[in-house]
Every structure is written in structure tokens, then in C-alpha cells.
């Protein structure tokens, strides 16, 4: 039974196709101005790769910021439920999921079935999100993907004190003018990011084990800092942590398709 999950976030869109409990494939693209277009583009790219067509998908759950506008989805769920479910599916020992996406950051607690138990999400502020990492790396003149590896070369972490992304960017400019070491500034950016995330995680409380998802989980500097601050080691996912929202949506889709016997028959 082929099902799909589609996660349209603020910066990227992801799609995952599953068949009888196996991941057939996944795809990530940068978002277009309209969520529907992002969803179609990422799904079509994946379908083409898998040599499938829309009609092969028996059920699709959409999630993410654009979840309500995606016409090919059969139902939608919040990305909070989906990230929790996806991470738990990959590693059933997971009870806490930290998701740092483009424009938001959340800490999610799940039960033994991977279902939502509690969560917190950052308030309307870009600090502690992927977007603020991008802004800061732009100020530093490096690609956001380099921020993690670069920070590993630092000898002295520069403390970024401003919580506001815009002010933090100005603080970075100031350090650049002072000709400080770029690796040290990068380490400071990751440290500031980790501190913001830790604050949020503290609000919901931690239950072992912990997984980290979303684009920012690809930044080794932030991840290491956070592990140190929390005194915990994160589980290692066998899949790209950026697709976990879409994966969770696909896991839900596999469950929901069972409730639609007449629909299955028609396919």
C-alpha cells in the first residue's frame, strides 16, 4: 500500500513515499512563494524519481505551515504531531524530539506509540530558528552549511549576547570589524543558537531518549553544544533529519488509509 507525506515549511518542502512500512524515497526542495506549488514541485520530483504517478498514492497527509492549502492531500496534521511520529518511527526509544526548522523551534514529547504528549513552540520571534542562523552566517560571509564544520576549528567561543536576530547580526559585524577569528564567531553563533533551543526544551521537560530534527540538526556545532548543555546524547537517525516531518505524515497516512476500505478498492 503506497502512501505519502508532504511537509511544506517556511523555507523548505519535503516529501516521503512509503510502501508497506518501508521508505521508498524522499525529496527536499526550497519553497516557492505558494505552498501548493511547493507541494506539487517536491511531490512530482519524488514521483518522477520513483517512477510513480499521483494515482499510485493511496493516501497523502500534508503537514507544515502550508498544510491546509495542499489540494492533493487527503487530510492534514500539525507538523508537531508529524515530527514526533516520524522520529519515533525511526527510533522507537525516542520520547523527546527537538525540531529546529526555518522559522520555528519546538520541543515535542511523545508517548510509547509516538503520539503527541506535550509540546512547546517558540513565540513569534526568529531567534533560535534556522532563518536566524542563515542571517548570521550571511553576516559572517559563509554558507550556512559551513557554520557547523567551521565552528569545530574555534579555539575561543565568542559569546553572542543579543537574543534578537537582527541585533545578533550587528554584533557579528562588530566582531568582524574587530578582525576576530571567523571560526570563533561561528562557534559563538552555534552556542547562542543552542542556548535559545535549550531554553525552550527546559519548558517542556526532557524524557529520554532525545532526537533532533529539522534543518538545524544538520549543524554539528549546534548539536554538540546542545548535547553538552543538556548532558544527553541524541539518538542518531538513519534518515536525513530534515525529512522527518514528512516521514511522520507518511506514517500517519499509512494508518489512515486503513480506515478507507472503499477507497482502496477503487484504486
Amino acid at each position: 500500500m503506497i502512501v505519502a507525506g508532504c511537509d511544506v515549511g517556511s523555507l523548505t518542502a519535503e516529501a516521503v513515499v512509503m510502501d508497506n512500512g518501508n521508505i521508498l524515497g524522499s525529496e527536499i526542495i526550497r519553497v516557492r512563494p505558494k505552498p501548493e506549488q511547493s507541494a506539487r514541485d517536491v511531490m512530482e520530483k519524488l514521483l518522477e524519481k520513483l517512477d510513480l504517478v499521483y494515482d499510485d498514492i493511496n493516501y497523502c497527509v500534508s503537514t507544515g505551515y502550508g498544510r491546509e492549502t495542499i489540494s492533493f492531500a487527503d487530510s492534514n496534521l500539525s507538523e508537531i504531531s508529524c515530527h514526533g511520529r516520524g522520529a519515533h518511527w525511526l527510533d522507537p526509544s525516542v520520547r523527546t524530539v527537538i525540531d529546529v526548522g526555518g522559522q520555528d523551534c519546538k520541543a515535542i514529547k511523545v508517548d510509547g506509540d509516538g503520539l503527541l504528549e506535550d509540546f512547546v513552540m517558540n513565540d513569534k520571534c526568529a531567534a533560535g530558528t534556522g532563518r536566524s542562523l542563515e542571517l548570521m552566517s550571511e553576516a559572517l560571509g559563509v554558507d550556512v552549511s559551513q557554520l557547523g564544520p567551521l565552528s569545530l576549528d574555534s579555539s575561543e567561543v565568542i559569546t553572542i549576547t543579543n537574543q534578537c536576530s537582527i541585533f545578533a547580526e550587528m554584533e557579528i559585524m562588530h566582531y568582524l570589524c574587530e578582525d576576530r577569528n571567523i571560526a570563533d564567531i561561528a562557534a559563538g553563533i552555534n552556542d547562542a543558537m543552542a542556548r535559545r533551543v535549550k531554553l525552550l526544551v527546559g519548558k517542556v521537560g526532557i524524557k529520554d531518549r532525545i532526537g533532533i530534527t529539522g534543518g538545524v540538526s544538520k549543524n554539528i556545532g549546534v548539536v554538540k553544544n546542545l548535547e553538552q548543555m543538556l548532558g544527553k546524547e541524541f539518538v542518531e537517525f538513519q534518515e536525513d533529519p530534515q525529512i522527518i516531518g514528512a516521514l511522520g505524515a507518511a506514517v500517519f497516512a499509512a494508518e489512515r488509509v486503513k480506515d478507507l476500505p472503499q477507497r482502496q478498492a477503487s484504486r
Binding site: L77, S78, E79, I80, S81, D118, D123, K124
Partner: protein, 375 residues
Amino acid sequence: MRALEELTEVSENLENKYVSDWRNQGKKVVGYVCSYLPEEILYAADILPYRITGKGVKDTSQADSYLTRVNCTFSRCCLELGFSGGFDFLDGAVFINGCDHIRRAYDNWKAHQSALPFMYLLPVPHLINPEGRQWYLEEVVKFKEAIEAYFEVEVIDEKLSEAAAVYNETRRLFKKLYDLRAKDEPPLSGTEVVSILSAAAAMPKKEFNQILSELIEETEASSSKATGKVRLLVAGSLMDDPEFLRNVEDLGAVVVADALCFGAKNFWDLTDESGDVLEALVDRYYNHVPCPRMAGEYSRRFDFVKEQAERAHVDGVILEHIKFCDTHGADNALLKKDFEAAGIPAIELERQYGPLADAGRLRTRAQAFLERIRR
């Protein structure tokens, strides 16, 4: 549902037809903020108390020039309406030092060319104790004298007693309405109730009581009942605009109870009609379910919210606060912890008041909260 339509219409217009009718009779209208103002004093002076709102404001550029980034959007919207003449139908305004945000809206409005002819600040103590009660009594007497002097009226005890009776009637009717909401099949949505509460604050109570009685009768007879939905209580910052709850209820929930200062917190306590009426009013307003601006009263507040949650057997509690509302924001963190410990799921939601409404983000959180409850 004729009565509901009527009240909804009242809530949607700043100068509603009851205000116009009142003014056409040559009578005065005085705006006020906060549930710590004994409205009965104005009512006894034949002045219509009108609760100041920030509803319908599309842009706050004038208020923005006076306030800082960390003033809440409610005080911002109220001030904008004041500056732009939205409250020109008022003969005066009474503010309370309820919180620093609204106090600053008062300071700036009073100093502005758009200030109303009568501007008054009624200080309310932050501690509930015998000394504080004495101070509050003195301030209420001063306020009464200021009204008498400015509007050239006399507020006699007989009129005050009449007002106290009318206001108590409103409170009893609201309790009846909330009993209906608490039923297994709530006949009204939370969105509709916010409109009713908002109308109550903007029209004469005698007329309001009549319409509310009709509404209760209509509601008891009506067959439109919300079923199969997640039952919620909402508590937190001031809410007189139905949009926030509409957004939540659209996702498959129904708000069946509240602990809001426009809602249950404002009408739950009655005024004792047996003794000295002014003393009774002072006791009633000073000791009513405490707002988080009162120091050291958390446990009473928690008990009240929990009582409301239990009598309406809710599935979850929404603890909302307007961004930068420190009093409710900090209180909600405690309430969240205590509700979870009591086995009732709770969520803290930060929101904006008025034109800056942040619907998408709120929807995601509210939807996830409902998914958590339904799992």
C-alpha cells in the same frame, strides 16, 4: 436566535444603537477599563459605563509613536482609537492602574489633544489585606466625589442599591448562561459568548438583562448543539474580540468555559445587597476573583480556573496571553504546570490583539493541542 443577533450587532459597533439612544436622551457615557471599577457608581449617577475596547483597529501608527515596542497590542489599539476619535462619543474615561501598559495608554491619551473632557485614574492596591481595603474604599469615595463634582450629580444610596440589584441580576443571568454552556451539548460556541460578553460591557445593563433573559430562553429551546468536539476552557489576558476563539473552534473544538476578565471572573461574585451599599460594592470589587496584577493571590486564581474547568468537564485548557502581557504570561506558566499535574492538558498561547493577529502560528499550536487531546 433573535437575541443573539441583536447582541452580536451591539458588540460589532463602537457606538452601538443603545449608546446613541442613551446620548439622544441627553445622558452621559463614560468609558472605563478593567474589572476593578465599581461600575454601579456611574450607573447610579445615570451615566452609562462603557468598557473601552481596541476592537476594529486596522493600524496603530499614531499610538506606536507614543508607546514602546514592549507595550501590549491591547493598550496600543485602545490608545489608537482614543487618538483617532473613535471614542468621541464618550464624555469621559476612567482608567485603573491595572497594569503598566494600560496606565501608559492613559498617560498618553490624557496628554494628547484628543483627551476627553473628564479623564480619571482610579488607583487600586496590589495587596489584598485590611489596609489595602481601607485605601481602596478611600479611592472609591474620591472617585464618586469626582463624578459628582464634574457631572453635577448626586449619587445617593438608594440609586446605588438599585444599580447593585441590576448588576447582580446580570451576574445571575450570566451564571445561568454558563450552566447551559457547561452541559454535554453546549448550545452556544465560545465565539458567540465572547460577543455576548462584549455587548454586556457596552450597553445599559437593564436592557441587556432583558435581552440576555430572552437569549437564555431561546437557547434552552434551540436544537443547534455542538457535539463531538473537544471541550475547552480559555483563560488569560483580556479578550473581547471573538476572532481568536473562532480560529480555535474552526479546528473542531468548542469553548465551554472561561476564566477571563470579560467573562466568568467578572461576574462570578455578587454584591451583598443587605448592608451599607458602598461598603458592599467596595468589598465585592476588591475581593472578586483576583486578576494576576494582584500580588500573592495565585492559589485563589488557580482554584477558580480549576473549578470552572471541572464544572464544564473540559478536555483541555487554553492559557492565552497578549504578547508583552507580563502579568498573565507569568501566571500562565504556573497554571500550565498545575493543570498538567492535575491531569488536565493545558497549552500556553501567545497572541496579538487586533490587526496584528497571528492566525497561522496560532492555528498550528491549537491544532497540535487538539491532536494531543484526541490521540
